[in-house]
Amino acid sequence: MAEQIALEVTRFSPERDKVPSIQAFDVPLRKEWVVLDALNYVKDRVDGSLSFRWSCRMGVCGSCGMMVNGEPKLTCATFLTDYAPGPVRVEPLKNFPVMRDLIVEITDFLGKLSKVKPWIIRAKEKPLSEGEYLQTPDELDTYRQFSMCINCLLCYAACPVYGLDPLFAGPAALALAQRYNMDSRDEGKSERLDILSQHDGIWGCTFVGECTEVCPKHVDPAGAIQQYKLTATQEWIRSLLMPWGGKR
């Protein structure tokens, strides 16, 4: 196996640069190394100013999402040897503003996430004295897949609609909305629908499907959104035929 592999990294210092540029480093090509190891090697031994986010290094925190050779990947789960002989191009996550080097501004996503109210909404909170909520394994199964989201934002990088339409809520936020809608303990379906049935909520989605392809936790946000479209349409028909029905 070759000793080294070329790592091409985006560099951008907002106080100095007008546009990002690419800088190349030679890093050891170790069998067990992932792209994150290569980035940390550069930061430790070559250029301490290289900036990037990472945390758990095992694919559960969602911090280390970046574009590796044009594909959105978790750098802690992407092996260097898969790209031999290289070079490996590491760029900041697509469709987000670049703050510095490989770090992107995710405030927009955080705003959209809180907009969908990703928590259990109850008309009236159950008092502690009444005991715990009971949920069967089958009830858990209906939303379990959507609860696996680690907010890594790879789906946002893959979604062309999110890149083109700043108002679109995006795959992860909608999948998480659906996760709570399908939760048997939740009573907030109607409240979330009011927010998301606006044109810029779910309807911007044209089912490209790339979000599901790149999701490292197999959440299938595209499926969640299509199910949500069907639910929203059923609700719309219901409100048309039975306007006196009231909030469900």
Partner: protein
């Protein structure tokens, strides 16, 4: 409660139109667009085709066949123009062209179907 948009209606039309297009257009296109003009199969006579079209079932079928896929096109093409050409700021124009076009097509289809002798 904020006013809910009418997107669900448009999506419903798009979906039903897509089903009609997927189920029925292939065989129609194959027969009337390729097999008959190219002589692969014997085309039905004028009288036979007219008999099929003029019955009440035939007229309803033609209305469904022509109108719903047009609304499927309208919705899909609208979003393709938004995303493909990035002209979302012209959305008033795009919506008028797409849904207006479908409505015009629906009116033409209704007029024609009503006038089948």
């Amino acid at each position: 409660m904020t006013k809910r948009s009418n997107e669900p209606l448009l999506w419903l039309l798009f979906s039903v139109g897509g089903v009609v297009a997927a189920l029925l257009i292939p065989v129609h296109l194959f027969l009337f667009g390729l097999a008959f003009p190219l002589g692969w199969l014997n085309a039905p006579s004028y009288d036979a085709l007219l008999a099929l079209a003029r019955g009440p079932a035939g007229r309803v079928y033609l209305l469904v066949f022509c109108i719903l896929p047009l609304f499927h096109w309208a919705h899909r093409f609208r979003y393709t123009l938004y995303d493909g050409l990035q002209i979302k700021h012209l959305n008033e124009l795009v919506n008028t062209f797409c849904y207006g076009g479908a409505i015009v097509g629906a009116i033409v289809a209704t007029y024609l179907v009503v006038h089948i002798p």
